[in-house]
């Protein structure tokens, strides 16, 4: 048959060429589909089914497990570039995370027990963040693991099953920062992210309370709020957020009446499974005067912690509930009130709750990322802690360490910044403490050195591979038998150590933070327990009100200090000028902060036209008008034609030091900080000078000094 006739036969779909042609087409299609499925995983181990998309750290893998009885599953997270490949192995009623080191699986977390899955499918999630892994199945945390990964690291996700187990509907959900807020300032029933789950919820345009005798929205800063009422068969709950939310803090302004029951929820799965804080009125008829942390699991309520601290009817408060790393905390007006350990759900939505016979008001809701590490050190799971040297033996009273030389257990993430770490230490060692920035280039050690009656608390930096250099030290009281709580904080290079009443501090400009380590040297019988790392919230925004300058009705506000508008001029004050009004001319003379500032503060000012003029500006810390020499004065100078800033630091007539720094821009930001006894000068966030120059706060050299003012500048 000629080529042309063959072609005509195929085109007419007649003849012997038709079926082979169709088969070729089918084969090509099937091959293309298979290649599409295999995709980029062609280099990954065989025998796995791979997700269509890769995961980018942090992410979650969600799906449904089906089968009869105990599932058999291996989930593989294949690092695309470097890093360990990770496995989740589920079999024989247990689940555990492993890291593949070579081809050998090494546990990176403790095993957890798993109930069987249902034929209809049991939902599961594997959360993979930059440090933690969680396996959540059937709404319960089954096991956890720890493995560091860079943010954005790509991992292929694959799985294999056996014994009739199937993974269905697998998908990747990216994880990201949680930043949600709501002041309810909108037309009722319009917008918002709230989904009422139970009860009745409505936006209110005006509050009905005793303070609003004449309802007029134009005379109220924020008349909008959210009002919730209980359901007939249980608490009223309204939700925001998503199923994969984890490690967060929800806070809200709340107000109730005598029969209101106010609450917040976290890790919400359904009406039978969530965490909550519940609050009743001091003078309620039933269940009065209670603040409680609750876990509702399978419909059963468990009180995790409780305090007799009811709210006052008609009063607004700020209530908050945080959950992270198995630790649940509640705050009232930013004061921590209750703490409990529970690691049931692992993830879930956030919400508001109203459970009383009367409803409750909510306003200014915020949900933000919240990280807190709390480890009793009784189990010391692999992966969470990396050990160097010594013998570490966890037990009911904590982890016991023996070591002839240095030993350290490190945990956390290199990205940690500005935190407070604490641990209880008991027993005997040459030194024991906390390393901040462990494993990094510039670790800092805060340690107690028990030497009988001459125990000391010290801050040390790593001078070289051979030893530590002491930066500062104070005497302290330490009993090996009873032990003590050691606390170490790091904020922008400023290190504080506390043990009992002893406080030691140092400034280490290169200390940026990072992982935290438990450290000991020469330990014969040392026990660490109750380790925590907390990340203090930034200070609340300062609001400017008219009483800041107009004290005619509230004379007690005359010395009120505020971060918002700190500067007053003596000439203005003498004339009674209202600083809130626009002004045409500036007065002469120095500006002083209004009121005293306690403890640490920062004075930040722009320095303009560097190199275009000769100038000198001064900032005086911890002094007051007429007593400038009592504090420290920083003189900032510049010269025409030079892109250089000159600094001279004086206390009265005494010259404490000087510095110079080259700048490139015409305007720079200069910050003069008081950090404990240190004065720190930064130019565009780089430290140019830092030395102890002031008495520590609370222990003033002139106890009779009144009305000390801080911060003069011009």
């Amino acid at each position: 048959m000629s080529g042309a006739r063959s072609w005509r036969h195929i085109r007419s779909w007649d003849g012997p060429a038709a079926w082979p042609a169709a088969a070729v087409v089918l084969l090509l299609l099937a091959t293309a589909w298979a290649l599409g499925q295999a995709g980029q995983a062609s280099s990954a181990p065989a025998g796995y089914q791979w997700a269509e998309e890769d995961g980018e750290v942090p992410y979650a893998v969600a799906g449904s497990l089906t089968g009869a009885g105990q599932p058999v599953l291996t989930l593989r997270l294949e690092a695309a570039e470097g890093g360990d490949h990770l496995l989740l192995q589920v079999k024989d009623g247990q689940a555990q995370f492993f890291a593949l080191q070579g081809n050998k699986p090494v546990p990176i977390g403790a095993a957890g027990k798993l109930q069987g899955v249902s034929g209809e499918g049991t939902e599961f999630t594997v959360q993979r963040t930059g440090w933690r892994l969680s396996f959540i199945c059937g709404g319960r945390v089954i096991c956890r693991g720890w493995s560091l990964a860079e943010e954005g690291a790509v991992e292929k996700v694959g799985w294999q099953t056996a014994g009739g187990t199937k993974v269905e509907d697998a998908r990747i959900q990216p994880l990201g920062p949680i930043e949600m807020s709501d002041d309810f300032m909108r037309v009722p029933e319009s917008g918002g992210t709230w989904e009422p789950e139970a009860g009745k919820w409505q936006q209110r345009a005006l509050r009905e309370d005793a303070q609003a005798s004449a309802m007029d929205a134009s005379k109220s800063a924020n008349p909008f709020s959210y009002y919730g009422e209980a359901a007939k068969d249980g608490p009223g709950i309204t939700l925001t957020g998503y199923w994969f939310w984890t490690d967060y803090r929800i806070s809200a302004a709340v107000r109730g009446d005598e029969d209101s029951v106010i609450g917040l929820v976290a890790c919400y799965h359904d009406r039978a499974n969530y965490l909550a804080v519940r609050w009743t009125c001091k003078t309620a008829v039933a269940a009065a005067d209670k603040l409680q942390l609750l876990a509702i699991a399978d419909g059963k309520e468990q009180v995790l912690a409780e305090a007799r601290q009811g709210f006052l009817a008609g009063q607004w408060y700020r209530l908050a509930l945080g959950w992270s790393d198995g630790l649940v905390t509640c705050w009232v007006d930013d004061e921590p009130k209750l703490l409990a350990r529970v690691d049931l759900f692992g993830q879930g939505r956030a919400g508001l709750m109203s459970a009383g016979r009367e409803g409750a008001f909510f306003d200014d809701v915020e949900v933000q990322d919240w990280e807190e590490v709390a480890d009793e050190l009784v189990s010391f799971p692999p992966g969470k802690w990396q050990l160097q040297g010594g013998q570490w033996t966890p037990g009911p009273k904590g982890v016991r360490v023996t070591s002839k030389s240095e030993a350290m257990a490190t945990t956390g993430r290199p990205q940690w910044r500005n935190y407070i770490a604490s641990v209880h230490i008991a027993g005997t060692a040459a030194a024991a403490g906390l390393v901040l920035g462990a494993g990094g280039e510039e670790p800092v050690l805060v340690a107690v050195r028990p030497k009988g009656a001459a125990a000391s608390l010290a801050v040390l930096s790593r001078a070289d591979a051979n030893g530590w250099q002491e930066l500062s030290a104070v005497q302290c009281q330490y009993s090996a038998k009873t032990g003590a709580l050691l606390e170490a904080s790091l904020e922008d290079g400023f290190v504080i150590g506390r043990l009992g009443t002893a406080v030691v501090e140092a400034f280490v400009p290169s200390a940026e933070g990072g992982r935290v380590g438990l450290y000991t040297s020469g330990a014969t019988d040392l026990v660490f327990k109750d380790f925590t790392v907390r990340f203090p919230q930034p200070p609340a925004p300062a609001h400017l009100v008219k009483e800041f300058t107009d004290v005619s009705q509230h004379f007690e506000m005359a010395e009120w200090a505020s971060r918002r508008r700190g500067w007053v001029n003596e000439e203005d004050l003498a004339k009674g000028v209202n600083l809130l009004q626009p002004r045409m001319t500036l007065p002469s003379g120095p500006w002083w902060s209004k009121g005293d500032y306690y403890a640490d503060y920062v004075v930040t000012l722009p320095v303009r036209n560097v190199g275009n003029r000769d100038f000198t500006q001064t900032v005086t810390l911890d002094a007051e008008p007429g007593w400038e020499n009592a504090g420290v004065t920083v003189a900032i100078s510049g010269r025409s034609g030079e892109k250089t800033l000159y600094f001279e630091v004086r206390r009265g007539e005494e010259r404490l030091g000087e510095a110079r720094v080259e700048v490139t821009a015409e305007e720079t930001q200069v910050a003069c900080e008081r950090r404990g006894a240190y004065v720190v000068i930064r130019v565009d966030e780089s430290v140019v000078w830092a030395q102890p120059a002031l008495p520590a706060p609370g222990r003033r050299a002139q106890p009779g000094a009144e009305g000390e003012r801080k911060g003069e500048g011009q």
Binding site: L26, Q173, P174, L175, E179, D182, V365
Partner: protein, 186 residues
Amino acid sequence: MKAMLKKHWHLAVLWAVLAVVTAAYVWAARVKIVIEAENYVSITPSMTVGSDKTASASKYVHIPLRRPHGENESGPADTGNTVYKFKIPVAGVYRLWVRANWYDSCGDSFFVIVNDQAQSWVGEDGTYQKWHWVKGKTYQFSAGVHSIKFQNREDGAKLDQFLLTNDLRYVPTRIEKQTPSYIVRN
């Protein structure tokens, strides 16, 4: 026709199977379309481009603040807008998400006009002064080229990216990578 089908029924079955398999594969494909706000087809003032290093590719579009803001406003001062065109590969229901930064409660929304049809809006979620994803409505799209317009509803509203996906369970949580293959330039 009937005679031909009777004669070649096996081929007809084969083509039918091929069509079903192909359609099923295409239907099962998750589609995610991501477009940077500054990649518009047209822009009309007062909508304008802004710069912010925390925005994706450091750029966004916005309706600049008017002074006074939020006081006795009867409506938007103009119909400033940006228009985008994109290809939908698979017909279906798509969810709109926008990555926005709202000024305050009086600057927290855009009008959304799809294919020059009736306008809706997106926003009023109560989160201000930070870039975040806002869930919008769902839209039915046929396969082919479509347009979307974001228009002035309140001044102070900023738009960094928007996303359309037929995976209604998907939730964007961070900056997404743009998908150039779905963008139509004119």
